[in-house]
Amino acid sequence: MGTLLFFLLGLLCVGSVLGMILSRNQAHNALLLVLSFASLGGLFGLLDAPFIAAVQIIIYAGAIMVLFIFVIMMVNLKEGIRPERKVWTIRLSAGLAVFLLIELGLAVKGTLASIRGEAGPAIGSPTELGRLLFTDYLYPFEITSILIIAALVGAIVLVKKKKDER
C-alpha cells in the first residue's frame, strides 16, 4: 500500500512538473506547480513526517503559489504568448541543464552514501525540528530570517510612492 502510494504520488509529482514545463498557458503552469507541491507534501506524509508535509502544503501550495497565481491572473488573461526563440539561449540553457544534471547526480550520490539504516521516527516531528532550529542551526536560521525581512522591507520601499509624485 505504501509503495503503491509512493509511486502514485511520485508519478503525479514528476508528471505535473513536466506538464508545467511543456504547457504554454501561464495559469495552467502555476496550477500544475501547485499540484506538484501538494504531491510532494503527500510524499513527506508517507515518510512519517506529517509536520513537514503540512508545512510544505501551507507555505508553498497554500501561500506562495496563491500569490503567484494572483499576479499571473491579474496581469495575463490571454492564452500563453509564444516565447521568442534564439539559438544562443537554447544552447546556453542546454549547457546549464547538463551542468545542473551532473550537480544533482553528485549530490544524490553523496547523500545516498551517507545514509546508514533508517532515520528515527522523531526526525520530522515538530519538537525535534524546533530543537534543531533553535540550537544547532540557530545562526543560519536567524540569518535567513534577517535576509527575508530585508527583502520584504526593500520591496516595500521600492514600490512605495513618493509624496510629491501624487
Binding site: 501538494a38 503540512a54 502544503i57 501550495a61 497554500g62 496563491v66 494572483f70 491572473m73 515538530p126
Partner: protein, 358 residues
C-alpha cells in the same frame, strides 16, 4: 476488523458533517427570518406534514440536482468543472482530524473517536483550509468573467491576509498546550485551574481566542467579511455556476462554518471535555462525586462536543445576519493592523507569563 472500524468512523463522520450542513441551511433561513421579523421557509411538506420547514433542505437539494448543468461557452471547461469539487473536497477532508470524543472501549478494543490521529492534526486542518483557496481562484478565473475574476482576486487577497493572523493566533495555544495533536490538546483541557475553573483555551488564551475567531470568520467569507461574494455588488466568484456546482460552493461555505466551530470548540472550549468530568464520572469542585459507567461518559462527551459546535454555528449565523459588510480598506486594516499585531503581542505576553510561572 480494523479496516471495518475505520470505514464506519469515516461514514459516521461524513454523515454527521453533511447532515449538519443540510440543517445549517435550514437554521440560516429560520434565524434570518426571526431577525428580519418574517416566518421563514415553512411550506415544504411530506403529505401535509410541515414540521416548521424541516423538509426544506431536501426540497432545496432536489431542486439543485434537477437544474441544468451549464458551462458558459467562453469558460475554460475543465477548470470550470474542477473548481467546485476542489473547494468541496478540501473542506470535507478536514473532518478527518476533528476529535469527536475520547477513546471508546468495546469488547477490549480501544476506538479513538477521531478518524485520523495525526501528531500534526492542527496543521493538517489549516493546510487543507488554505488549499481551499484554489477553488475560489480557479472558479473566478476559469469563468472568464470580469466580475468573477474580481471576486476571486478579493477572495485570494482576503484569505491570504487573514491566514497570517489565524496561524499566529494559534501559536499561543500551541505554547500553552505543548502539542499539535488535537487529542492531546483536548486531553490537556480536562484539568482544572485553581481547582475549579476548567483549563479551557478561552481562560488561558482570551486574546488568542478573539484573534482566532475574527480571522476564522474572515476565512468563512460570510457577511462582515463577504468581499469575495458581495451579493449586492459583484455577486462573486461563482456567478457563472448553476445547479449542483453552485450548490457545492454553498455547501462549502456551510461546511467551513462547521469546521471553524469544531476548531474553536477543540482549541478554546475544551473539545469533548465536560467541566469536572473525568474518565469515571463527575468530580465536583465542592467535593461531591457522581460515578458513571464508561458508555454514559462517552455519550456525555459526544453530546458536549455537539452542543458546543451547534452553539458556535448558531453564533456565526447570528453574526452574519446582524452586521453590515466591511469596506475593502477596512478589511485589510483590520487584518494587518489590528489582528496581526494583537496576535504578536499575545505570543510575547504568553511567553512572559509562562516564563514567570515556570
Amino acid at each position: 476488523m480494523d479496516i471495518l472500524i475505520i470505514v464506519i468512523k469515516i461514514v459516521c463522520a461524513l454523515v454527521w458533517f453533511l447532515t449538519l450542513t443540510l440543517y445549517l441551511t435550514w437554521l440560516e433561513r429560520k434565524e434570518s427570518a426571526v431577525i428580519q421579523d418574517r416566518i421563514g421557509a415553512n411550506r415544504a411538506n411530506i403529505f401535509g406534514l410541515r414540521l416548521i420547514g424541516l423538509f426544506q433542505p431536501f426540497a432545496d437539494a432536489i431542486k439543485m440536482i434537477f437544474k441544468e448543468d451549464f458551462v458558459p461557452p467562453f469558460a475554460s471547461k475543465f477548470l470550470h468543472t474542477l473548481a467546485p469539487f476542489l473547494s468541496f473536497f478540501f473542506v470535507a477532508v478536514t473532518i478527518a482530524a476533528v476529535p469527536f470524543g475520547d477513546r471508546l472501549e468495546i469488547g477490549g478494543r480501544h476506538i479513538n473517536l477521531q478518524i485520523l490521529d495525526l501528531n500534526a492534526g492542527l496543521l493538517f486542518i489549516l493546510a487543507m483550509l488554505s488549499l481551499g483557496i484554489y477553488g475560489i481562484i480557479i472558479s473566478g478565473w476559469a469563468s472568464r468573467n470580469r466580475f468573477t475574476l474580481l471576486g476571486s482576486m478579493r477572495g485570494a487577497a482576503q484569505l491570504i491576509s487573514y491566514e497570517v493572523a489565524l496561524g499566529l493566533s494559534l501559536i499561543g495555544v500551541i505554547m500553552v498546550y505543548p502539542s499539535l495533536r488535537l487529542q492531546s490538546i483536548v486531553a490537556f483541557q480536562g484539568e482544572n485551574l485553581l481547582g475549579w475553573i476548567p483549563k479551557w483555551g478561552i481562560f488561558l488564551q482570551p486574546f488568542g481566542f478573539l484573534v482566532f475567531f475574527f480571522a476564522a470568520l474572515a476565512e468563512t467569507k460570510r457577511v462582515p467579511f463577504d468581499l469575495p461574494e458581495g451579493e449586492s455588488e459583484i455577486i462573486g466568484f461563482f456567478t457563472e455556476y448553476g445547479g449542483l456546482k453552485w450548490g457545492l460552493f454553498m455547501m462549502t461555505d456551510f461546511m467551513e462554518i462547521i469546521v471553524v466551530s469544531c476548531l474553536v470548540t477543540t482549541l478554546f472550549f475544551g473539545g469533548w471535555q465536560v467541566p469536572w468530568m473525568s474518565a469515571d464520572g463527575f468530580h465536583f469542585p465542592w467535593g461531591g462525586t457522581w460515578l458513571l459507567p464508561h458508555g454514559i461518559v462517552v455519550l456525555f462527551q459526544l453530546l458536549a462536543f455537539n452542543l458546543k459546535v451547534f452553539f458556535f454555528c448558531w453564533l456565526q449565523i447570528l453574526i452574519r445576519w446582524t452586521y453590515p459588510r466591511f469596506r475593502y480598506d477596512q478589511l485589510m486594516d483590520l487584518g494587518w493592523k489590528v489582528l496581526i499585531p494583537l496576535s504578536l503581542i499575545n505570543i510575547i505576553g504568553t511567553g512572559i507569563v509562562m516564563g514567570i510561572l515556570k
